[in-house]
Each structure stands twice: as structure tokens, then as C-alpha cells.
């Protein structure tokens, strides 16, 4: 196995402080190396440093060798111009923005081709490149906006590979795509790696995805490498508590656990944890010595290294099997709180309906999962349910303990149903303090401002947070405040529209546990909308699968997920990263 790219003590700094410190990499021909990290780990900066594309004011340092030749990281365009495209190419996350919107795909792919080709040669090379990524040559004449996300990412891959690079850096190449498309794109990258004898650096936040796709792992946290090693070894016997905790925080797809494992606290910024073990503050096994200095990354096995002082104990320990919860085989749906019948909605100018004759029933105290990809209508359903959107036809009827308000349109009153949205960063009014936001929501429910501390306590935040503004909060904390705001008027039904999908895995588990707990404590019914089958497995009693505005399958969660009745449900299940391995293990 020959090494095509190696880095020793790679550092990335800005004027504000270090971003990434002490990264060592060895990338072999025909293999995939995954750099795994949550937000703020600096993983994208590693990719940018290795392609000479760091933003202004950010500098890289360290010894990097590319195909046997040393590379001056600070050398500027003179050094990088001959390298980029021909030796290293970087594939970006968002295929919707990574191609110029006003140029056709063909010329964009052709732009990186070497000079001196005739017109027909270029044309043929573009057609061949598109064919290589599974696209029709006709796509060359299309504009990016005429293509789907998956097709755009294929065009981008063809463009990235046009000059035949030896190394492909793929920065979250599938995060912006639907789950079923994700798998196809990852498969394609894998095939191209083999057929072209390329090496791939896969930058990802998803440990399970890395586990499925990479030969070697580099686990990054707060700008530090905590563990590296061959994927199989690292995943079967982690040598760092963080790797283990990150793996365990991932909700399992195959079974339901009583309580998700969490990593307490929030993902820190590198500067906050300098001079000690960066994970010590959140590590359940941290000792005093962990905070006294920064542990070095030391050899702990064959090609394995860990930055934990107690790596040996960690390796010796065996994973604690999680406590399984009884499978969700269905709840009492006779006492429904909301019954949706024949709901239809077509947005003006849209060719296909967003909702097409949708029937959904939510039982008292039940958590109903709604799964589907973008365009399935699941978000429109949520918005109709809380009155943000008016359906064209059909009925939403609130029943039972949610006494009907007599609204003939069937529109829910705010005391009955509330919603928590996806994006924590725009969930809260930036101009108001947390206390003011919550006080207003309490006022709606006829409760006094003095209930704010109790409300914060309910979602696991200290009362002192009332004086803070949203920008001083982490994503997980904002989402907790958003939940508190939704609960303030005392709703009986809470709609969660992808409420945890923008959060880091370690924080996502905390919020999921909180929702589960609140449901039991307050007797809430939940409508849990998600694209993530594993999360739905943990949360929902009953699940509805949506495709292009229609419900294609519904039933008790365990039944639907374990024995899917519809091809689309099977496709969704098959797309979840790590599933194939899980079955073999």
C-alpha cells in the first residue's frame, strides 16, 4: 500500500487562536480515510488546509507530503495551482450551491480539463465523465437548477474528477441530500475510488457513516485528534471514551432502548478547553489528572493511537449492552386526540400536491412518527396541524381531552397544539432575552412571568438563563428553550418538525431523552416528524411513512420498521448508514 498523502503535526490557526492542532494523517492509494467530528471540531478546516483553500486570515502549518513531494502549506497559489484538480480535489457539501447557476453543466465539467484538447475531444471527455458518474451525456446541456440534488452532486463529482486527481477530499458530500440519495452517492464515490485507484478523505459528522465507508478513522474533537486507527478496530474496541460515547449516543435502528446514552454538556470551542484533555469536561471517566495537561496522542496498538490517559483501561473494557425497552407494538388508539381525514393541499404553481388525501390519527398520550424525505409533505402536514398553513380540503378534528374549540375550520387553538421547529439558530427572537420570550408564551397560557424559572427547570436549564440572549446559547440549549416556549401555554399535543436533526449527535440524544421524559411527565401527545429512521424507532409508537404527499404505509413502529410492507419503507431502512454492518455484527 503506497502512501499518497501524509501530514505530520498539521495545525490550522486564525488570529483568534488555534482551530486545529496536531493532526497526523496517512492516506493510502485505493483507501478511504474518514475524519469524523461534531460541529466545531475543525474537520472542514482540515479539508480546506489540505487543498490550500483556507479563508482569509486562517493559516496552516505542518509537514505535508503529496505523492512523495513535500508541500509548502503557506506557499500560496504558486504551490497550490498545479496541485489542485490534478492531485487533490475538494468536493463540497451542498450541491445546490457548488455549481455556477448560470452556466450549463457540460462547460463546468470541461473547465478543469487539461488544455490543448480539440472541441470534439473535450465533448467526448465530458460525456465520458458524466457516464462515469451514472449520468446521461445529455445532462451536459442542462443547467444545474434543472437537476435534482443527487444529480447535481454527480455532476460535481464528474467536475472534481475531470483533471484526474489522486486524492478526493469529500467534505460532508451527502449531508444536504435525501437519505436514499445519500447511499447512491457514497456508493458512487466508493466505486470511483476503486476504478480510478484514488484515495478518498471523507469528512463527516456521522460516525456510523464513517464506519461503513472508511478503512481508517481519525476522530476529531474541539480541534484535537482524540483517536485514530483502522475502522474495524476502533469501532469494535474504542480506545477513547469520546469515540465510545459518540457511538453509543447514536440511536440504534434495530431496537428501542429505555434511555439513550448521552454525552453531557455542549460541544466546546477549542479555545475554551486549551491545555487539558479537551473532552475532560464531558467525560464520565475524567480524573483530576485529565485536567492538568494535554494528553499526548500515543500508540495503543497496531496503527492505533489514542489521546486518553486511560486508553488501556478503555480498550480492556467491554461495551455495556443498553437496556432495551419493550418494543412499541401499538398503543390504545381508540381515544384519539386528533383525527386528520382526507387532508389535501397543493401550493400555488406546484405541479404535484404537497398533501394528497392524508389520514392521520394521534392517540392520547401517543407519539406518532411521520417519516419521509424532502418533498414528502411531512412538513406541510405539521404546518397544517398548527394552523400555519390552510389545507385545501379534508379535516383536522381535535377530540377527547382536547375539547373542541368550536372553530368550524377545524383550526387548532394555540392552547391545544404547539410546535418545535428544526433550526435552533432562528428558533428564538434574537432581540429578546430567553426570559422575555418565555414570559410572552406564558402570558398566552394565562400564566404569570414568575413561572419562567420553573419552565426553564422543566427543560433542564438553570433559572439564570432567563437573562441571556439567544446568541449566547448553544444549539441544544436554544432547542430546549424552544421546547419550553411551546410548552408554556400548556398544549396537549406537541408537533416536533425535525426538531433534533440540526443538532450534534451528542446533543441530539439529550433533547430526545428530554422529549421522552416530558411526554411521560405531562401526558403529552407527540407528532414527531423526521427523516431519520433510527430516531423515529426510539421515539414513535405508531409511524406513518410519507412519499410525495401520500401516506404509503402506517402501523405500530416495530412492525413497520422491522417488517416494512412498502418498497419505499424498505428503501428508507436500507439507506440508514451502518445498517448493513450492524446486521453482520
Amino acid at each position: 500500500m503506497s502512501t499518497v498523502l501524509s501530514a505530520r503535526d498539521l495545525q490550522v490557526r486564525s488570529a483568534a487562536g488555534p482551530i486545529v492542532t496536531g493532526v497526523d494523517l496517512d492516506l493510502h492509494v485505493g483507501t478511504t480515510l474518514a475524519v469524523v467530528g461534531e460541529s466545531g471540531s475543525g474537520k472542514s478546516m482540515v479539508a480546506k488546509a489540505l487543498s490550500g483553500l483556507l479563508p482569509r486570515g486562517v493559516h496552516a502549518d505542518g509537514q505535508v507530503e503529496l505523492a512523495g513531494n513535500p508541500l509548502d502549506l503557506a506557499g500560496g497559489e504558486r504551490v497550490w495551482a498545479p496541485v489542485r484538480g490534478r492531485q487533490v480535489a475538494l468536493l463540497l457539501q451542498d450541491p445546490f450551491t457548488s455549481l455556477s447557476p448560470v452556466h450549463r453543466c457540460g462547460p463546468q465539467v470541461a473547465a478543469a480539463l487539461p488544455d490543448g484538447l480539440s472541441r470534439t475531444e473535450r465533448h467526448d471527455r465530458v460525456a465520458a465523465g458524466l457516464a462515469e458518474v451514472g449520468l446521461d451525456p445529455q445532462v451536459a446541456r442542462r443547467y444545474p437548477f434543472e437537476l435534482s440534488g443527487g444529480m447535481r452532486q454527480r455532476v460535481a463529482i464528474a467536475a472534481a474528477l475531470a483533471a484526474d486527481p489522486q486524492v478526493l477530499l469529500a467534505d460532508e458530500p451527502t449531508t444536504a441530500l435525501d437519505v436514499t440519495t445519500q447511499r447512491a452517492i457514497l456508493d458512487l464515490i466508493g466505486e470511483l475510488r476503486t476504478s480510478r485507484g484514488m484515495a478518498v478523505v471523507l469528512i463527516t459528522h456521522d460516525l456510523e457513516l464513517a464506519r461503513e465507508r472508511a478503512d481508517h478513522l481519525v476522530v476529531l474533537y474541539a480541534g484535537r485528534v482524540l483517536e485514530t486507527g483502522p475502522t474495524r478496530d476502533v469501532m469494535s474496541r474504542p480506545a477513547h471514551p469520546y469515540t465510545r460515547a459518540l457511538h453509543e449516543a447514536n440511536p440504534p435502528l434495530e431496537h428501542r432502548v429505555a434511555r439513550l446514552a448521552v454525552i453531557e454538556g455542549n460541544v466546546p470551542r477549542p479555545a475554551q478547553v486549551a491545555g487539558r484533555c479537551v473532552f475532560a469536561d464531558r467525560c464520565p471517566k475524567a480524573q483530576e489528572v485529565c485536567r492538568q495537561g494535554e494528553p499526548a496522542l500515543v500508540e495503543v496498538g497496531a496503527r492505533r493511537r489514542s489521546a486518553c490517559l486511560f486508553a488501556a483501561e478503555e480498550l480492556a473494557g467491554s461495551p455495556v449492552p443498553p437496556t432495551l425497552a419493550p418494543p412499541a407494538l401499538g398503543t390504545d388508539r381508540a381515544a384519539a386526540v386528533v383525527r386528520i381525514t382526507g387532508l389535501t393541499k397543493t401550493f400555488p404553481g406546484a405541479a404535484v400536491p404537497a398533501l394528497d388525501d392524508v389520514d392521520v390519527l394521534v392517540g392520547a398520550g401517543e407519539c406518532v412518527g411521520v417519516v419521509g424525505e424532502s418533498g414528502s409533505g411531512k412538513t406541510t402536514l405539521a404546518r397544517c396541524l398548527v394552523g400555519l398553513e390552510q389545507a385545501d380540503g379534508g379535516q383536522i378534528r381535535f377530540l377527547g381531552p382536547l375539547a373542541p374549540t368550536g372553530d368550524p375550520a377545524g383550526r387548532p387553538a394555540h392552547k391545544l397544539v404547539q410546535i418545535v421547529f428544526q433550526d435552533p439558530y432562528s428558533a428564538l427572537d434574537p432581540a429578546l432575552t430567553v426570559g422575555a420570550t418565555l414570559a410572552e408564551a406564558l402570558w398566552v397560557g394565562g400564566r404569570p412571568r414568575s413561572d419562567v424559572p420553573a419552565l426553564l427547570d422543566l427543560v433542564g436549564l438553570p433559572a439564570s438563563y432567563a437573562t441571556r440572549r439567544p446568541h449566547a446559547l448553544s444549539g441544544g440549549e436554544r432547542q430546549r428553550v424552544a421546547i419550553a416556549r411551546a410548552l408554556a401555554p400548556g398544549p396537549s399535543l406537541l408537533v416536533c418538525d425535525e426538531s433534533v436533526s440540526a443538532l450534534d449527535v451528542s446533543v441530539q440524544a439529550q433533547v430526545l431523552n428530554l422529549l421522552h421524559e416530558l411526554r411521560g411527565r405531562l401526558g403529552l401527545s407527540l407528532v414527531f416528524i423526521s427523516h431519520d429512521m433510527a430516531v423515529v424507532r426510539q421515539m414513535a409508537d405508531h409511524v406513518y411513512v410519507m412519499l410525495r404527499g401520500r401516506v404509503v404505509e402506517d402501523g405500530p413502529t416495530d412492525q413497520v420498521l422491522s417488517r416494512p410492507g412498502h418498497d419505499y419503507t424498505r428503501a428508507l431502512m436500507a439507506s440508514v448508514p451502518g445498517r448493513a454492518l450492524e446486521e453482520n455484527a
Partner: protein, 289 residues
């Protein structure tokens, strides 16, 4: 916002803050401060600015007793320029605040509620913006018969469509933010949401554009008086001075150059502060005429 309020309240803190700013912005604040002093204290500094001395006629700059010389009517150019600060600045300030007020009044509900109101407001803006504001102002104020406050009122109305559009766009951009949708799910009333959640979040845009509007209004007002529309003949006004002094370019160039430079300096200062605020608040740098 605080940086704007502080210089007026705590002088020492203000100086400290001022020193931390980029050079051009420092200079702009100093210019605005000095002009403010002239607006307030002008009548005491130059009490006899309008006193004519027909016998003296045009005296060149550097004449005894007249540092910048005199104009055709024998009026001291320096005193006249000092006295002209009032009409040069007060009108534009009123225009900027008034047009932003109109912009908020029309643009915020139009952006928030949409529908018929929005299309009516939109058509109105299209109509006014179809012609250059300066040309329209000259035509309307000129035909009505001029006068300072007539010009101010006309410009206020003519400036408001671009403010309206800007506020409307800003409101529209916040309309689908989850935090606003959450208030709708909470069942809060439209006016309450507008006042409590929408306006505070677009205040930076409004403030920024007030400064930019002041700059444009200053240019527009002096353009009107330059053409003889804005102010009565014989009153102290920079634009008027400029048109009166145009014929004196060979005898006393200072009579037109000095007020001309004053107009440029004041407009640049307001613009620099507007651009700086836009930068600071991360407001899109909207270019307008």
C-alpha cells in the same frame, strides 16, 4: 445602536469609543459633531450673516475683515456659510426621519400581511420610483411654487418609496423565520408581533438608512435651492450660495467653492456613518440613487 446614543450622554466614554473606530468613521463623527454645533450656535457665531454691503461689492478671499471674501451683494462668505448650516441640515434630517417613518408605516404592514395592501403599496412605490427623485422634486416643488418646507415635504414623500421597499423586504425576510412563526402558533396578534418581534429586528436597517437618507436629502435639498426652488432668494443656504457664486468664479471663487465643499463634506460624513452602520449590523449594502 449604543455607539450612537453614547456620544451624546457620556463624553468620556464617547471619546474612548471614537478612538477605537476606523479613521474615516472617526472623522465623519467629528464632522457631524461640528456641524451640529453650527446648527445650534450658528446665529451667535455669525449674527450678521445676511448684512449686505453693496458699496463693497465682491471682495476676493483674504480681504481685510472677510477671510473668504464677499459675494455679489457684499455679504461675508464665511458668515453666510456658517448661517447656511441650518437650512442645509435641518431639512434633510426631517426628510430622512419622515421618509423612514412613512417607510415603516407602509412597508412593515405590507411585508407582514401581504395581499392587497402589499400590491397597492408596491404599485405606489413603482410609480414614484419610475422617475429620478431629484427630477420629480424639482418639478413638483417648482410647479407648486417652492418654499423650504414645501420642498421638505415633497422630498419626504419622494424618498419614502425606497425606504418602504427596504423595510418591506426586511420584514418579508423575517416573516418566515421560525421565531415569528412560533408567535403565530402562540396566537399572538399581528400588531403585537410587528411591534415586539419584527420591528426590533429590523431597527438596524432603519437606522442605517436614516443616515444614508440624510446624505441623499442634503444633496437633493441643495440641488433644489441651487436651481432656485428650495429657498427664498437672499436667505443663507449653501445651494443658493453656490448658484449665486457661480458667476463670481473669476472674482471670488471662494463664494461658490466653500459652500460646495461643505455640501460634499457633510454628505460624505453622513454616508460614511451609514456605510459603517451597515457593515456593523451586517445589513446588506443596498445601493440607491
Amino acid at each position: 445602536m449604543s455607539a450612537v446614543a453614547v456620544p451624546l450622554t457620556r463624553p468620556r466614554a464617547a471619546v474612548r469609543r471614537l478612538r477605537a473606530l476606523p479613521g474615516a468613521v472617526q472623522g465623519a463623527w467629528v464632522v457631524i459633531g461640528l456641524l451640529g454645533v453650527l446648527v445650534v450656535a450658528g446665529p451667535w457665531i455669525a449674527p450678521h450673516a445676511l448684512a449686505q454691503d453693496v458699496l463693497l461689492g465682491v471682495a476676493p478671499a483674504g480681504s481685510p475683515g472677510h477671510l473668504l471674501g464677499t459675494d455679489a451683494l457684499g455679504r461675508d462668505v464665511l458668515a453666510l456659510t456658517v448661517a447656511g448650516t441650518r437650512s442645509a441640515l435641518i431639512g434633510p434630517l426631517v426628510i430622512a426621519l419622515g421618509s423612514m417613518g412613512l417607510g415603516l408605516l407602509l412597508g412593515a404592514p405590507a411585508g407582514y400581511r401581504g395581499g392587497l395592501l402589499d400590491s397597492l403599496v408596491g404599485r405606489w412605490c413603482d410609480l414614484v420610483l419610475a422617475l429620478p427623485p431629484i427630477l420629480l422634486a424639482i418639478v413638483v416643488a417648482g410647479v407648486i411654487g417652492g418654499g423650504y418646507w414645501v420642498s421638505v415635504a415633497v422630498l419626504m414623500v419622494l424618498f419614502s418609496p425606497s425606504d418602504t421597499r427596504m423595510i418591506r423586504a426586511a420584514v418579508l425576510a423575517t416573516r418566515h423565520r421560525p421565531y415569528l412563526e412560533a408567535t403565530r402558533v402562540l396566537g399572538l396578534s399581528g400588531p403585537r408581533v410587528l411591534v415586539r418581534h419584527v420591528l426590533p429586528n429590523i431597527a438596524p436597517i432603519a437606522l442605517t438608512n436614516v443616515f444614508l437618507d440624510v446624505a441623499f436629502a442634503l444633496v437633493a435639498m441643495s440641488s433644489l435651492s441651487y436651481l432656485g426652488v428650495g429657498v427664498a432668494p437672499g436667505s443663507a443656504d449653501w445651494g443658493r450660495q453656490l448658484s449665486d457664486g457661480r458667476d463670481l468664479l473669476f472674482t471670488n471663487p471662494a463664494a461658490s467653492i466653500v459652500p460646495g465643499v461643505m455640501i460634499i463634506v457633510a454628505a460624505v460624513a453622513a454616508n460614511v456613518i451609514g456605510d459603517w452602520l451597515a457593515d456593523r449590523f451586517g445589513v446588506g449594502d443596498e445601493v440607491r440613487a
